[in-house]
């Protein structure tokens, strides 16, 4: 089984994140980059499915697919040290500034070339937070969208998931090939072992350019994006409110505030 896990490098959510003044794209250089947290669940899910396939006597391989600048190689290396077999890095200056729609086009082109039985993604990235990539890729690739999973089961070419809903879950079933996205807490992502870290150094990472993947440069990057940022500003700090110490009347004071604001 050919499993492709999408991994995005994002700025650390604990750091101060900013857009660049020049072109309103994310300033990726000034903050530490790491694997999008939700993608770690996708990697773990891919590894577990591959392990189960091998245990059942089937061949299985996990490929990491990352689109991003040079620096994203760090995230690829971490994914490989967790246990993925190889990686494809879509790396081209022409991709900078791509929006969701153009990113899905670029990734679909690569997926078409490298082939897949199962594509696994995190449910969203912590930087853009659109939550659309699995849906867009399923549409572009013409395969079922088996998204927002908090539990995944594979049985031959059948796939069954629990799709997280507002007040519970839906049971969803389909057949491979398919695009899956996983939500937080689907599993417990493993830490890379020392052996894994050493082994990762020898694992193959294929770099692809726009030309390699057959991507039309006019459809990606800032020029190819279907959306644009008009302006951006730092949110002004909230007006300092009133903070009181509880002197035995804290609850009553909250009630007074709520009543004055007509909440109670």
């Amino acid at each position: 089984m050919n499993i492709v896990v999408l991994v995005k490098q994002v700025p650390d959510t604990w750091a101060e994140r900013k857009l660049k003044d020049a072109d309103a794209t994310l300033d990726r250089a000034s903050v530490d980059g790491l694997i999008n947290e939700l993608d770690e669940y996708a990697i773990e899910e891919g590894l577990q499915i591959a392990e189960a396939q091998r245990a059942a006597g089937n061949e299985a391989e996990v490929t990491i697919l990352t689109m991003g600048p040079e620096k994203a190689a760090e995230s690829i290396r971490k994914a490989l040290s967790m246990g993925a077999d190889k990686a494809v890095h879509l790396l081209d200056d022409g991709l900078a500034g791509s929006d969701g729609l153009s990113t899905s086009y670029a990734l679909a082109q690569v997926l078409g070339q490298i082939g897949f039985d199962l594509v696994i993604a995190g449910s969203e990235s912590t930087d853009a937070r659109m939550g659309v990539m699995a849906a867009m890729l399923a549409e572009r690739l013409g395969v079922p969208q088996v998204s927002l999973a908090n539990k995944v089961e594979i049985d031959g070419t059948a796939i069954r998931i629990r799709r997280a809903s507002e007040d519970g879950y839906f049971e969803v079933e389909s057949t491979l090939p398919a695009v899956v996205s996983v939500v937080e807490k689907t599993n417990e992502p493993r830490y890379p072992s020392f052996k894994g870290i050493m082994a990762a150094k020898k694992k193959p990472v294929q770099t692809m350019s726009l030309a390699d993947a057959g991507i039309d440069p006019a459809l990606v990057g800032l020029g190819g994006a279907a959306t644009e940022v008009v302006d951006h500003t730092q949110r002004p700090p909230r007006q300092a409110g009133t903070v009181v110490k509880d002197e035995g009347d804290g609850g009553a004071k909250v009630a007074e505030f709520l009543a004055a604001q007509k909440f109670i």
Partner: protein, 317 residues
Amino acid sequence: MAEILVLAEHVDADVKKVTLELITLARRFGEASVVWTGAGAEEGQARLAEYGATRVYVAADSVYDDYVTNPAAELLAQLVKEKSPALVLVAGNAQGKEVAGRLAVKIDSGVLTDAVDLQPGADGPVAEQSVFGGATIVHSRVRRGTPIVAMRPNAVAPEPAAGDAAIEAVSLSADATGARITNRVVAERSDRPELSEASIVVSGGRGTGGAEGFGVIEQLADAMGAAVGASRAVTDAGWYPHQFQVGQTGKTVSPQLYMAIGISGAIQHRAGMQTSKTIIAVNKDPEAPIFELADFGVVGDLFKVVPQLLEEIGKRK
């Protein structure tokens, strides 16, 4: 007058509040045409009329309930081609955003998600988005195709207006299925409002000390008619189910009132609640960052402050 498509969210005949918000918003740009998938439109029609919907396209097929995302996106794509609307609005929850994403690919149009406001501009609608955990405000627009915007619930207040909500039956002309939904499981249906669209959210954090201590959060939520939220520390520890987590990797809420009880306000929590209109914090640590956001804060033991607050609410009822 320009036509605006609004994808309705409903549970049977009950129209969700976010849909009334979208209809209200659509009227800023033209005539609101609601797109209703599945059953219940006849019963829901009066509510849509009350908020100023001009018409309702009803696709009463079961395919929309049986398959994930694709049929609704295909129906919208078909209506975009037939009606040439100026704008398509969907609810900015996980499922709404997926429909928006698929639609964007189908009609090769730009999509903006998590908008907290939408205003007419010289080159089409301009969306306001609050990004990086609310630290940056971005205005953006669609420059190719028919703008598709997923609005964050509670972005606008629903305003009644006269409308006909004339029903027009529509159906899919193409096959659109994909992954099939075989069963729907409701975890625990409570009478509380849905977290992402509630007007008031009461959230508990590490300060509650455990699943037992979290009971006081539920009591306060019920007294306030609020939804219950939780910080990541709480859901990671298993004190409260994961689907109620508010924050960077959980739900983003934007209620009229957010009450953070025993929550320190780490940056990843703030990412999920920073755009709330009014914020109240109770925490025993005076240095807790949540107090920087709070309109009103009490430094104290939540197990003393909240019971007293409950008593006061009781007196005022």
